[in-house]
């Protein structure tokens, strides 16, 4: 079974703090993704990565950065958290050449 884990289920941070969200997958997948889910907006792609040290901007990359130093780990970084980044953050992975993505349980981030 594919397993995608995220470092925290719930996180509360203050405005201006630097926030790290970690994602680890155990299936040797090449592709990894970060989404945010907001009511009425569905899932929106923030960043994705096809390989170690490679990254591509998604639809809403502003205010975020990512890091992929190892194949199994994909980190999402909020350099200076803002209240409009309060959201559910979902990490996913997929094998190369396959669109089916496997999701982690999500991190509910609240920025106050």
């Amino acid at each position: 079974d594919v397993k995608v884990t995220q470092s925290s289920r719930y996180l509360v941070k203050r405005t201006g703090e630097k926030v790290f969200l970690e994602c680890v997958q155990d299936m040797d997948h090449e592709n990894m993704f970060w989404y945010r889910q907001d009511p009425g907006l569905g899932l929106r792609l923030i960043y994705f990565s096809y390989d170690v040290k490679m990254k591509e901007k998604g639809d809403i990359p502003e205010g975020y950065s990512v890091s992929r130093e190892k194949k199994e780990r994909f980190s999402l970084i909020l350099e200076s958290a803002s209240t409009n980044q309060t959201s559910m953050y979902l990490c996913a992975s997929s094998p190369q050449d396959l669109s089916e993505q496997y999701f982690g349980p999500g991190t509910r981030l609240t920025v106050t």
Binding site: V4, L41, G42, F48, E56, D97, S99, P105
Partner: protein, 113 residues
């Protein structure tokens, strides 16, 4: 610009009946379509997919239909069960989107006993 649209935010169906969830897309380059199911406070789980070379794919109680000319797909759940109550997301990908998925906004299905 939303390339995948789920125009019904919610749907209520009685247990045992058929649930039909609809999805429209605008990008003719999409060639692979997926449905995900999501419970609150959990990540989405893959349900069923269909390639553009097919017009139907079935897996147990779940069937996805694809009408390429209309750029429309639908998910049928027969018979519906209370445990099917969740948010359903339609997603699409294609050559020009790499491996990234374009998601619709979701339809919340409620199956009542």
């Amino acid at each position: 610009d939303q390339q995948v649209k789920q125009n019904s935010p919610s749907l209520s169906v009685q247990e045992g009946r058929i649930s039909i969830l609809n999805c429209d897309y605008t990008n003719s380059m999409f060639d692979y379509f997926l449905w995900y199911k999501k419970y609150p406070a959990e990540g989405p789980t893959f349900l069923i997919s269909i390639s553009s070379i097919k017009d139907k794919n079935e897996d147990g109680r779940f069937t996805v239909f694809l009408n390429k000319s209309a750029k429309h797909l639908s998910l049928h759940i027969v018979p519906s069960q209370p445990g099917d109550s969740a948010v359903y997301f339609c997603a699409a990908s294609g050559v020009n989107s790499g491996y990234a998925l374009n998601f619709g906004k979701g339809t919340s299905l409620l199956v009542t006993p």
